[in-house]
Symmetry: C2
Subunit: 335 residues, 2 copies
DNA sequence: AGCGTTCCCGGGAACGCTCCCAAATCGTAT
DNA sequence: ATACGATTTGGGAGCGTTCCCGGGAACGCT
């Protein structure tokens, strides 16, 4: 393979200096129309493609966006990722996807920092996961960051990152309200989403009921099996009329457990999900769920990020809302 | 933000030259154990992370792999992507993920070429999709390429790319054989996978039967809805005992359609899937499906690619096999 | 004509690293 | 002791850009 042309070759070819080539490459002003045209032609003729590494070394910044996602197998994110990809690719950005495993040694912030230092992206989107502490170090690096669907606990300083989320606390309350209004009192909550639970707790408290809570590892919360197992444990108690699942994946697992137990949905027990993933429409019965506007979330995440990068806009915190999709897996309590 | 440490800082800190630091960084030999340890400590203490751009600039090669995936929302790929990510990230490669929409104007080859030119990756993995023609141009660029789960039609020259696939024709035959052996004769096939159908056709022919075929757009074949719609159309005819779905996603959609129609599975009609995605275990009844070894596929794809990159191994074509997972959605024909 | 602006353009330095070559050090056989 | 190979280390020259600065040309004004 013949060595690729570099900026000097183009300069020579066009009869100008490398600086001038660089200027037209980057759309900087200070080049006469005639020269600009000549350089453009040279670039075209030589099928010259600028060396990305050199560019980013020199300007200390690349044209890439890191998307750091916790739980990539969660179908909820697949759709968002593809939307984000589409948008970002369209704007000429690379998307470096990094999956992120959380354990007691590595937090999302740590991972983000080390990836940032390596890749020097123009911006980052953190997808899913949760943020607890030591975000100070992330804040330091000062790269545009959008957290999408990420739970941020204990952060009183929201000036250094943008976010696109749902109001977890409010949505939790909405879920709880819905099942309570429909007469359910013996409720089991499957899943662990700090804020969502907090909102629920408030409502349940108003109704004077204490639901059974099934906590689970955060990093297993997007597996069907987790929902299945949790539901099995719950069903052993045999006292509940409603399984409130904090994600559709969990709900689908739970539905399976209910069927295995020989119970009918929703006659014997209701199941409610949260997310609105496509599979939810294809369970039997169809899942009643609170649908997150994930298309909208993806769109907002990208446009917010681009706003931060290009226009140096201040950080925004966008809060979106779910809509209830009534399927057949939920029914009011009779009598 | 304080300027990040560079290789000179580390060198000074450890009391050696940058060359020595570079050597330990890259695991080159010619550094005494004692010095190596001291440098390692310096790196550790300064939380130094080498600048990737500078590295790839000076060594004329990036450390990135492009993964081009057709149909990222297909749950089948989500898992593979996350495995590929994990492996590749572990080996120090960036993963640039690119989603690829196929239409009559842009083929997978075209997309791959243009992305290659921009990103100059060390290698590429093409995930899913299909390859029909004009691969000559792709061949020209000479970058290590692995096609994973990609259908390659009409390519008699397999020396310029590696592949990791299942034997679609054989697996198709296996599926057909299975349902026929169990007495099914009135079969509908949902989905369109050229080679898989070819294998089926052979078997069906042997049995002297002609199944109803429901073709569909390739790029809608990974949507639940597609399976649902196809099944509804089939069920109107009301003559079949078995729905043979060429993917689990389609099968799950089909199951829903059967339920909606008020029919029982497998008593009234059997449903068979193909892929072995996690959701399949959570349908009701559990899906009977031919499970692709996708973990293995991901592993093999990565190791093949790394083999091509590092060891300049020749191209390999790895063929893996499915295993039948017997769920409750299939039953032999009575009598 | 002289002077200040503005507009174009070129050259040099820097970005942080790798790679090659030469120098220094050490060990061992003569 | 000397010579010589092997091992370890340091220094210099790039890699292909961008960015800053300074020089010259062209222009308008006094």
């Amino acid at each position: 393979m013949p060595k690729d042309a570099n900026i000097y070759d183009i300069a020579r070819f066009a009869g100008v200096s490398k600086s001038t080539v660089s200027r037209v490459l980057n759309g900087h002003k200070g080049v006469s129309g005639e020269t600009r045209a000549r350089v453009r032609k040279a670039i075209e003729d030589c099928t010259y493609i600028p060396n990305n590494s050199a560019r980013s070394l020199s300007s200390i910044s690349t044209k890439s966006i890191v998307v750091l996602v916790h739980g990539i197998t969660n179908p909820f994110f697949s759709r968002m990722i593809s939307l984000i990809l589409e948008k970002l690719n369209g704007k000429g950005f690379d998307v470096i996807l990094h999956s992120c495993e959380l354990d007691e040694n590595t937090s999302m912030a740590d991972t983000a920092i080390s990836i940032y230092k390596e890749k020097r992206p123009k911006g980052m989107i953190l997808l899913g996961g949760y943020f607890e502490e030591n975000y100070q170090s992330l804040q330091m690096i000062g790269v545009p960051i959008v957290m999408a669907s990420t739970t941020v606990l204990k952060s009183d300083d929201r000036t250094w990152f943008s976010s696109v989320t749902i109001d977890d606390e409010g949505e939790g309350a909405k879920m709880a309200e819905y099942v309570c209004l429909n007469g359910h009192r013996d409720i089991a909550v499957i899943g662990q989403y700090h804020l969502r639970e907090k909102g629920m707790a408030r409502v349940f408290n108003d109704y004077g009921i204490t639901p059974t809570a099934v906590g689970l590892d955060y990093d297993k919360a997007y597996l069907f099996k987790t929902g299945y197992k949790a539901a099995r444990r719950i069903l052993k108690q045999g006292t509940h009329t409603c399984l409130l699942c904090l994600s559709d994946v969990l709900a689908i697992g739970a539905i399976k457990a209910v069927h295995d137990k020989g119970l009918r949905i929703p006659e014997d027990i209701s199941v409610v999900g949260f997310d609105g993933i496509e599979n939810g429409e294809y369970t039997n019965p169809t899942l009643t769920t609170f649908v997150q506007p994930f298309d909208e979330m993806a769109v907002q995440s990208v446009s917010t990020l681009l706003g931060l990068i290009n226009d140096k806009e201040p950080h925004r915190h966008i809060i979106l809302h779910t809509t209830l999709e009534k399927g057949g897996s939920f029914a009011p309590v009779k009598g």
